[in-house]
């Protein structure tokens, strides 16, 4: 059996009061699969995480929540193992001293106030001074004004922040967040991103899931891309982003003379294919930037008018599919 992928950014952990001085990764998945009957939800996923913010990116239904639930010990892997600081995550309540979980479901006990919910979490975590820990967490998520209102009266964004307060009361060294920015307004979103960044700077391991590329781009140092239950890519954000940009692209073009434009474009080194079937010109390139610079220049030089240029496979879904195939 091969070893799990351990990206460079997972190997070293800065010394910090939040992270115990151990050599093992904070969080490790070793050939983990999960299936429900005949349906494979997660397929042979391996990776390891250290300190820092990692984005778990993938379209809806990709398996992000299933992965997070397995990491939080709320789902048993069908194969492989999930380790939290070297200990199995499944049926080990002691791991929750290290973990804070913000689940995707927005429901919180509706009869508790935000402070009451944080206090309950602090008491159940057994922290030395639960009221102080709860007040601190409420302050941290900027919920002090509504702290004593029942969460049943909260907006979606406020409930989201109450959930995060509940997960922070014991100052966990690993924080797992499932779509944490759902329902937050832009100001709250920025505040939360700052908070997560500062926690990561303290040496904590932060993993958050999202299906929105921009959220991951703004916050994560590194990303895990999941598609159809498989780990499509893992590592430094910029290198994955480059892979996404430099993949083969296909454009559909409508011009004043498609045939002549095809002949001109096929001579350009950035283009590796041109197709005129069905009365439409499709052009394939493996250098997105060079092609988008060359196209208007070549069209102008040959006196051809461009009516329409449209990328045909630019959805996030197609990007993920490409990453899985490569």
């Amino acid at each position: 059996m091969s070893q799990p992928v351990v990206p460079a950014w997972a190997a070293a952990e800065p010394a910090s009061p939040a992270a115990p001085p151990v050599a093992v990764p904070a969080l490790q998945l070793d050939h983990v699969s999960r299936w429900y009957g005949n349906v494979v939800a997660i397929n042979d996923v391996s990776f390891a995480l250290g300190a820092g913010v990692t984005g778990l990116l993938g379209p809806n239904g990709a398996g992000k929540s299933t992965l997070l639930h397995m990491m939080a010990g709320l789902l048993q892997p069908s194969a492989g193992q999930v380790l939290i600081r070297g200990r199995s995550a499944w049926r080990q309540p002691e791991i929750y001293r290290d973990i804070g979980l913000v689940p995707e479901k927005e429901v919180v006990h509706p009869y508790l106030s935000g402070y009451g919910f944080a206090l309950l979490n602090a008491q159940l975590q057994g922290v030395p001074d639960p009221p102080a820990a709860a007040a601190r967490a409420i302050e941290t998520v900027d919920l002090a004004d509504a702290a004593h209102r029942p969460t049943g009266t909260y907006s979606k964004g406020m409930r989201q922040r109450a959930k995060i307060a509940g997960a922070l009361v014991h100052e966990p060294s690993i924080l797992l967040l499932d779509e944490p920015f759902n329902g937050m307004d832009p100001r709250q979103r920025l505040h939360m991103m700052d908070l997560l960044r500062s926690m990561a700077a303290d040496g904590r391991t932060i993993l958050f899931s999202s299906h929105i590329l921009e959220e991951v781009e703004r916050l994560a140092d590194s990303i895990l891309v999941v598609h159809a239950g498989r780990l499509a890519a893992a590592g430094d954000y910029r290198s994955i982003r480059r892979l996404m940009t430099d993949r083969p692209h296909t454009f559909t073009i409508r011009s004043s003379d498609d045939r002549r434009l095809a002949a001109t474009l096929i001579a350009d080194p950035a283009v590796f294919g041109a197709d005129l079937t069905g009365g439409r010109l499709s052009v394939s390139t493996n250098d997105y930037a060079a092609f988008t610079r060359a196209l208007p220049r070549l069209a102008a030089a040959t006196g051809i008018t461009l009516h329409e240029v449209a990328p045909t496979n630019d959805s996030l879904e197609s990007v993920f599919s490409y990453l899985v195939r490569r």
Partner: protein, 241 residues
Amino acid sequence: MSAFRPLVGVTLRSLLGRRRLLLMVLLVALPVALALLVRLGGGRPDASGILDNLVVRIVLPLVAVVLGTAAVGSEIDDGTIVYLLVKPIARRWIVLAMAFVSAGLTIALVVPAVVLTGLLTSGLGSTSVNTALAFAAACALGGIAYSTAFLALSTVTSRALVIGLAYTLIWEGVIAGLLEGTRFLSIRQATLGIAAALGGKRPGLQPLEPTISVVIVVVVTLGALAIATRQLSRFEVRGGD
């Protein structure tokens, strides 16, 4: 165990929702109201018939099935159980706290109704008081067995309320009364056995032996606690992508 109190507190608040509480109070008020009518009509010498038919057969299991299945079941249904499970707490404490609250509330609601019903029906004579207290003690023990059994059921299936009602109405209400051997699988029969042993024997009925009755209550309660703990230890979240 420092987590026990907050677990009791959150379960209590969850179970004491306004509508559920009102429904439970109306339910336990039913035999009391009937006993009041009997009293206005001159009363009856023996309250055991009313206590068996109304309280032990209907009110006690209904209160227990609603509270027992809701204690864990409502947390599982709305997903809030996750916040209790992702804590460094042995699952048995979560089960014990929830069972403590559901059994405690069942007793708190049913036992006063039993005493009031008994005394209103047959007055304040020593036999009447003895019968009422015998049924009260039996209902307290039966309430513990019922509520923990239904709590365990809610960790096994999401249809615990329906199955609990079917057990109460069909198994205990019909089958366990007709077939001799099935009485050993009936909490109601065990409750009546304990009541009879304490002086609340209903004329014309042959109750279970007191030892057997107590064994049934203890086995059901401990078995239910063990099943619920095992189920929560292996609990897996539903849904998500």
